[in-house]
Symmetry: C2
């Protein structure tokens, strides 16, 4: 492996935990981790608009822009949504959430991390209505849409989260509300023909932005054919 490759691998080490805004693309890509513990401080209208304006620059299949963004700020709506969220989390945990997929043996570090995520998700569920703003990302799609329907909404959602982190706001991509999707759609008036792809809580973080734990590139990449190690040499 070339020196250049080694130094590329070390990029994550450059970024220290921080609560500060940043316009640096690399810092934002590397330090936007899931934030589920938010301060109750309000998020201004200008900021919400900037997040949405960044989101809509993402690609969608055939540039159809079948996305819809529902900004949720009303306290009563958040409280009712919080009830559905807690029911969803309970149903998810009961179904064995956090367990490794079939055929995969988790390491002790992975077991520990899963427990951490569970606790953090439970915290969000308990404090749901204290989060200042949610964005529900929806996409025009058939009810039985496959994975690729996500290609027209998750890039936009991720752009919104990156823009949030750039402005010093925490967020996390959640889909658990889909355990009660019919009720969520009814509460918010989401019509037939749209799927609710992600519910994103947004607020100023209690914790810090920092690179999350990840398996290295070499563990998840191949060259030209599956199971052929990625051995990149200096060019």
């Amino acid at each position: 492996m070339s020196e250049g490759v080694s130094s590329a691998a070390g990029i994550a080490g450059r970024f220290q935990p921080s609560q500060q805004p940043s316009d640096d693309l690399w810092e934002v890509l590397y330090t936007t981790r899931a934030i589920r513990r938010m301060k109750p401080d309000p998020v201004s209208d200008d900021v919400v608009y900037r997040l949405l304006d960044a989101a809509i620059r993402a690609p969608s299949g055939g540039n159809q822009q079948g996305w819809r963004f529902l900004v949720i700020r009303d306290q009563q709506t958040k409280e009712r949504l919080g009830e559905l969220y807690r029911e969803s989390i309970a149903a998810l945990f009961a179904s064995g959430y956090g367990q490794a997929p079939p055929g995969v043996t988790p390491t002790p570090a992975q077991v520990e991390e899963a427990e951490k995520i569970r606790k953090s998700a439970q915290y969000l569920a308990t404090h749901f209505a204290e989060v200042p703003v949610y964005v529900l990302g929806c996409i025009r799609a058939a009810a039985n849409a496959g994975i690729t329907a996500g290609a027209s909404i998750y890039p936009a959602i991720w752009s919104l989260q990156l823009a949030a982190r750039a402005l010093g706001l925490g967020s996390t991509l959640t889909t658990v509300h889909r355990m009660r999707e019919a009720q969520v759609k009814e509460l918010l008036g989401v019509p037939e023909g749209f799927e609710t792809a992600a519910l994103i809580p947004i607020g100023y973080p209690r914790g810090t932005f920092a690179p999350g734990p990840r398996q290295p590139v070499e563990a998840v990449s191949f060259l030209d054919r599956w199971d052929t190690p990625l051995e990149l040499s200096a060019s």
Copy 2:
């Protein structure tokens, strides 16, 4: 609408068409548009590694990181994949690709844009093997996985594309190969239990980076309930 909101809406106008690299988060979010016409210039190993190292910082459900990235550079593999890609494009176009979804009447501008995308996609199909490198993004998922399986791979794919644009490289998110997914999986050795979520061509662009055509935030956003206009006032 507040002045602040108006100025936020004008961010896209700040960015001029360019082929230059940029580390500015906002420029990258706003100007990463689909690039399908690439120069044949090689992409260095270091650069490919940087793209993958950025991609793996994205979130995935439960931080499971079920993603796998297949870097395709071998000329013979690209040529065989190109044949499957051209078959896929032909099948897609025959199925009415580019037509508006049921119940949606496209504007003349949308009809024109759809034709532009068709031509650009056909160009990529014809010149498939000239693109220096492809990344096939895969995700561990059931064969009948729904839209939310995409939440664990498309953020990573989009981070890869944003990192590419930051380094002056063009890319586009394609899923059309799935019209021949069984053959693609066989060619590349993708095992059971993984879905091929996106095939990303990467190369130095013949054209420029610039904001793409988009409906404004107001046309795709609601406040608290579907069909309630998003009226953000100055805070």
